[in-house]
Subunit: 148 residues, 2 copies
């Protein structure tokens, strides 16, 4: 059993797609993250990080301050995303997450999959074959396989 066997197909987003397209893909797919094709590379944006670009720095540093943000409503959060691109979502990832690979080769082992997920805090990993995206393996899928 290798990464290719566990992968499920996804359509990657492009960096010039609108940021809200990433939210729609998450809502429709039910997957815990999206894959972005950035040139010849693939980057995963976890669902937990897709709203990062919409949040002021002081709220990320101390989430309790989200309460005192004057317009801490859903409308306000959504409006912060207007005019942003998927590239902006990628750029807003934290340095540790951006500095770690989000990709494994098609013949990667379950240990490599688990390690990439754990090291980069990714709920899913992109699986590639000679640079082409085969699909993704989610953490839940890997865990279900381990229990069988």
């Amino acid at each position: 059993m290798d990464a290719a066997d566990l992968a499920e197909p996804v359509s990657p987003l492009r960096t010039d797609d609108a940021a809200v397209a990433a939210l729609r893909v998450l809502a429709v797919s039910g997957l815990p993250g999206v894959v972005v094709q950035a040139g010849h590379a693939y980057v995963v944006i976890p669902a937990s990080q897709v709203l990062r670009v919409a949040l002021p720095r002081y709220v990320l540093d101390d989430p309790a301050l989200g309460r005192v943000w004057d317009e801490s409503t859903a409308d306000q959060l959504a409006s912060e995303l207007v005019g942003r691109s998927v590239a902006d979502l990628v750029a807003a990832l934290d340095r540790h997450q951006l500095g770690t690979s989000h990709v494994v080769d098609r013949d990667a082992t379950v240990v490599q999959l688990a390690a990439v997920m754990a090291a980069a805090h990714l709920p899913l990993v992109a699986v590639v074959d000679h640079g082409a995206l085969l699909g993704v393996v989610t953490a839940n899928r890997l865990i279900r396989y381990l229990l069988t």
Copy 2:
């Protein structure tokens, strides 16, 4: 709309539960993480981190080395979990994740929910009412709400 409105019920794990119980809850619930009750506190273990305790340090530092781990099979990974407890899974979380709150109050705003998710890399947040667990809000649930 506040955190309590968006929360879905879950049963928390206890720290003395077997580690494999966390994997089973993930497999059955389909949720992207589990909630652990640790004394009067609640901690979230993301699905991406539940196998962390089973991985050697050098593989976490460089996932590509997972390939050269002699027995990089599913059986080996699963056997590393035998005898481990949920407390061991919590202890294996990285320092940043353990040092950040995983909980919001029932009247937390959507901005606070998004900030806790983004800051602590959590695919779900625990919602409490005077210390009692009301449920969880997943990142996907929050995003679906924002799109409505």
